[in-house]
């Protein structure tokens, strides 16, 4: 987790930044001048920062949720694995083309029990962001994910997927190697996995790229995330014929966890630390773990065949139409 000095702030966090700057200032003064007691002021500022963090995330617009989900300090898949699990053994490669760095996964223990955790991975700095391709997997990433899922199924271990992608990569090689087929195969196979599958949107949940690791018995969203069929920017560019209407597009798409839960498309919303997951990685991971454990226990009691039937039925019910 970045120290206070290294924190990055996005537009909507400006009021927090002002308080943080003030705090930094007083800390420096306290360091330079040991004779004056600043502890009261510093204490007060620290409390105000927490209060402001809470305040700011209380009523976010859809677009602000999108922005928060993309916060540069936000924890990504490997961070959650590190903070939630023990004995993580990362497994690489699709055994076909290469290892896709935008998709990670492996066995780990969650509260002593072996699970398979798979997710998109974004980079934490400029160099890593490129290496991770901004969390946009190629077909081999989806095939790697499926390989790991099948491995989990063989050893009867539950699967947890962590979704965080602006979309599957729209590249030339991706098309050559069958991006569509890879995602299609994953959706189909995930529907039939004999082990419990829990999917969690931890950041961005964009389109087929998200659903490619997103079919499960339970689907959750973290508080400051979004999930829909297209990014608000692309939606704006197509339907409004302008890149400028992304805020409106985000609003119209009803992509927030609250909407998605109300629609019955996700099963629950996982709370985040005050101000967002990027303020406290440990707490963010603990909050997620707290939601995952009882769900895993619940799903384990169901017969595999019934679980698959329920999974198919869960998705069969989704949609709206008139019959005239």
């Amino acid at each position: 987790m970045p120290s206070l000095e290294n924190r990055q702030f996005i537009e909507l966090e400006k009021p927090i930044k002002e308080l943080v700057d003030e705090l930094k200032d007083f800390r420096q003064r306290a360091e330079k001048n040991a004779k004056v007691d600043y502890s009261g002021t510093i204490d007060q500022l620290e409390k105000s920062i927490i209060a402001k963090r809470e305040d700011i995330t209380k009523e976010l617009t859809s677009w602000q949720k999108v922005q928060l989900s993309r916060h540069p300090d936000r924890p990504y898949t490997l961070k959650y694995i590190d903070k939630m699990c023990t004995n993580f053994v990362e497994i690489f490669g699709d055994r076909g083309v290469k290892d896709d760095k935008a998709m990670v996964g492996g066995f780990a223990q969650l509260d002593g029990e072996t699970v398979m955790v798979i997710g998109q991975q974004k980079g934490i700095n400029t160099k890593m962001r490129q290496l991770r391709n901004f969390g946009m997997a190629n077909p081999e990433g989806y095939r790697k994910a499926l390989r790991l899922m099948k491995l989990a199924e063989k050893f009867n271990k539950p699967i947890i997927t962590l979704i965080d992608t602006p979309g599957a990569y729209p590249g030339l090689e991706a098309e050559e190697r069958g991006q569509g087929e890879a995602i299609a195969r994953n959706i189909y196979e995930m529907m039939r996995l004999k082990v419990p599958v829990i999917c969690v949107v931890i950041g961005e949940g964009a389109s087929g790229g998200a659903l490619g690791i997103g079919v499960g018995d339970k689907v959750l969203m973290l508080e400051n995330t979004w999930y829909t069929v297209i990014s608000p920017e692309s939606c704006s560019s197509i339907l409004w014929r302008s890149w400028e209407k992304k805020e409106i597009a985000a609003e119209q798409l009803k992509l927030t966890p609250e909407h998605m839960h109300k629609f019955g498309l996700v099963d629950g919303i996982v709370p985040e630390p005050a101000g967002g997951a990027h303020w406290d990685y440990d707490l963010a991971a603990q909050l997620l773990k707290k939601e995952l454990l009882p769900l895993l226990q619940e799903l384990k009691t169901i017969d595999p065949e019934v679980r698959i039937k329920n999974r198919i039925e869960r998705y069969s019910k989704m949609g709206f139409w008139d019959e005239i």
Partner: protein
């Protein structure tokens, strides 16, 4: 000079497009506007009207074109056609029964872009014979009973929404109940964005149903036609026991314009065409539209015997 990439996504707005599809609708005169029969909605070809091939500029009459299954007699360009034409071409004696025509799109989210979704639907319904972007029908191909789901690109770019999901799901149930195969004729620009996440979830919904068809050992054939993109390619379009392409069809996950903008390079000649997909191992075969019916007959015979 590389040709300008087709903007596939543009078709998903639901607005009128001054393109090939508008030309196509002029081929026919509507004889039964608003009247539905349980079999087909008859449209008569406009006799003596001239039409120009967008590929080779060859000009022939619409009658000649329809007799040639809407394939250019000179360069073999496969014109974009709709469900009525495919049903006509494939079903024996043009006899079939349409199913689930009463299922209509609904503006559940109150989605408004440049126009409210419900208004958009109303306007299209007023102008078009189509009720949504897919039609489902049962009939016979070379004597084999089969259910066909066929997309209509004219209806909001063949976009994948709740109605497509529900019709295909019921179609799959019908196939299982009647022990018959399904052919999916794909022609879609992608997701019905006005249905947001509900549109995305149809990918999973249909895949679940296809897996049940697979359990019942029923053939599922995906016929990918020009153009097929987005959610359809990333789900049931690519999940056929056989994935078949029409010659020259544009098929992909991301549209060519989007890819070009991403990689900032010109796309190679033939990129995302059927022949390209076959070479890369994602199509099992390419079948000329004029041989389609007969080949389907052979395939079903092989599956049965």
């Amino acid at each position: 000079m590389a040709k300008k990439e087709e903007d596939i996504e543009k078709n998903l707005t639901g607005d009128d497009l001054p393109q090939a599809d508008a030309i196509r609708s002029s081929w026919f005169k509507r004889v039964q506007k608003g009247i539905l029969t349980s079999t087909s909605e008859k449209k008569e070809i406009q006799e003596g009207l001239w039409t120009k091939c967008p590929e080779c500029k060859y000009t022939c009459t619409t009658t000649e074109l329809s007799e040639n299954k809407y394939v250019c007699p000179k360069c073999n360009y496969h014109h974009r056609i709709g469900s009525a034409e495919y049903f006509d071409i494939l079903f024996d004696g043009d006899e079939y029964t349409e199913l689930y025509a009463n299922i209509r799109s609904k503006d559940y989210l109150g989605f408004t872009d440049l126009k409210p979704y419900d208004k958009r639907l109303e306007d299209i319904w007023k102008k078009s014979d189509l009720h949504d972007s897919i039609r489902v029908a049962v009939g016979k191909i070379e004597g084999h009973e089969v259910l066909i789901c066929c997309m209509d690109f004219d209806f909001i770019g063949g976009s994948l929404g709740s109605v497509m999901g529900e019709k295909v799901a019921r179609g799959a149930d019908y196939c299982i109940a009647n022990n018959i195969p399904m052919i999916m004729i794909c022609k879609s620009g992608g997701a019905r964005m006005m249905e947001s996440a509900f549109s995305l979830m149809q990918l999973a919904k249909i895949s679940g149903k296809l897996s049940q068809m697979s359990d019942a050992k029923l053939p599922y054939i995906s016929l990918l036609t020009d153009p097929t993109f987005g959610g359809v390619t990333a789900s049931f379009g690519m999940l056929g026991d056989l994935n078949i392409g029409e010659p020259g069809a544009l098929i992909g996950f991301a549209g060519p314009r989007v890819i070009k903008e991403t990689i900032k390079k010109d796309l190679p000649e033939g990129f995302q065409r059927s022949e390209f997909l076959l070479e890369h191992g994602f199509l099992d075969m390419i079948i000329d539209r004029k041989e389609m019916k007969q080949k389907f007959g052979v395939i079903f015979t092989l599956f049965k015997n």
